[in-house]
């Protein structure tokens, strides 16, 4: 899967879970400070990524990712 496609799908998931416009979600957006993610939403995001990409991720490592770009890189490791 191309990294560009992964990023596109990550942004779609982030937009759905955090209920923000996709145009506001950029690779260097911080989930907490820029997009307003709360603790439970961080957990929802990881669950949604797992469902979207059909992977099982290391939960603690996944929850430590702070930016959209970081999430793209992290997921790329699982889908390639």
């Amino acid at each position: 899967m191309e990294k560009g496609e992964i990023q596109e799908r990550v942004i779609k998931v982030v937009s759905n879970v955090l209920k923000v416009d996709p145009s506001m979600v950029e690779p260097d957006s911080n989930f907490v400070f820029d997009l307003g993610a709360e603790s439970t939403q961080s957990v929802q995001l990881v669950a949604a990524f797992e469902e979207e990409f059909n992977v099982e991720m290391d939960n603690e490592a996944a929850l430590s990712i702070q930016t959209v770009g970081g999430a793209v890189d992290f997921i790329t490791r699982y889908v390639q």
């Binding site: 709360e38 603790s39 439970t40 957990v43 929802q44 990881v46 669950a47 939960n59 996944a62």
Partner: protein
Amino acid sequence: MTQEIKPHPLAAVAEPNLLDQTFEYSLPPRIRFESPVVEIIDGQPVEFDPRTIPQRDIVITDTTFRDGQQARPPYTIDQMVHIYDLLSRLSGPNGVIRQTEFFLYTKNDRATLDRCRELGHRFPECTGWIRAVKGDFRLVKEAGLSETGMLTSCSDYHIFLKLKFDRKQALDSYCSVVDAALEAGVRPRCHLEDITRADIDGFVLPFIDRLMEMSRQVPEHLTVKIRLCDTMGFGLSYPGVELPRSIPKLIYKINRECGVPSDRLEWHGHNDFHKVHVNGATAWLYGCNALNSTLFGFGERTGNPPLEGAVMEYIALKGDMCGLDTTAITVLADYMRSIGMPIPDHYPFVGRAFNTTRAGIHAGGLRQDERIYNIFDTAKVLGRPPRVAITDKSGADGVAVWVNEYFCLSGADRINKIKVHPVARWVLDQYEIHGRLTTISDEEMEAKVKELLPDYWDKYKKPSITNT
């Protein structure tokens, strides 16, 4: 005067030091002493060595049916017999709960005593309780008891203001009843009521001297026992406190100056100043072998040393379970609730919430390793695994702990917090969207787990919540 500053270099270890010698998870944490304790008494340093505790025959005695019952409507006979049976289970074969005492005044009192003895338990031994008047002593003889407590009030508040005696009249009256007990072959246990407000040199010690003189004339099994009754909770454990409030000094005077051996000394406290448990443990450390207590601290006014607290202290001091069946504490608490005795939710060891955490960050700790936020292995010691109560503060960590406990999952089977996110979301919505202010009940959680985690429900489901 300047003090040299001592440097404290960091010990950068690779493995955690969990201080296992003290915090062995399967037991209440040990109380370990590294030196004797020194108290200045009559201007001289006196040494007490608490390191001898593991070798001493310290015991717990119970007054749930006497002082405990003074604080509530009477128990039925059946209730008392059941409680006695459970006390025996808790006590174990070594008799850590050594004795319990009964009123002897009514037909029901005597019937209860008979039925408890019919159970055939060795421990707790059954003893009586009477006022120090000869007429009452007849009840002890008729009940066929080998030991009875008798009220021998020793402060001038009681001698002059209540009994309308002078000190010599009080002393002679008490001694005449003790004499009657000894003649009948019944061991007297003198309850020195209000000792922490008494004239120690002017009445208490002369009275005990007389009792020791009488004891020298009788066989060992009849020698007089002394119960130090801190009737108003005035006793203090702090070093340097003056008599009559100093527990160390009181015990020293009676134990070492009057020569009453430790196995004939007992402490009975009250909780008027929130000191009841520590005062009782202090009495153990300074030379009383017996600590008198009541289940869950129920007793006159503010109550007595809680028996279950004494049990935990006992294990902590001894470093061993000593044959105690501590799971009986939980059974006793459930039984007390079932007969209408309230136990606050946050009450140590038995309250519904005593090992329940509400904060998500604590639940996160519990999820990683329950030792982080559980005082000891409460599942093993009390049959009560640590729990989380679900509120807006619980987070996904708290929900995960709840779900895993609900499904009784451990180790690799445990469900991680990512998988429970639909329930965590539902919980948060109750507060953020619906403005809820109360805790989510177990029944609600059960229903939501069934609805939102159907795969896990089908795999692990159990009938219903039964144990809170």
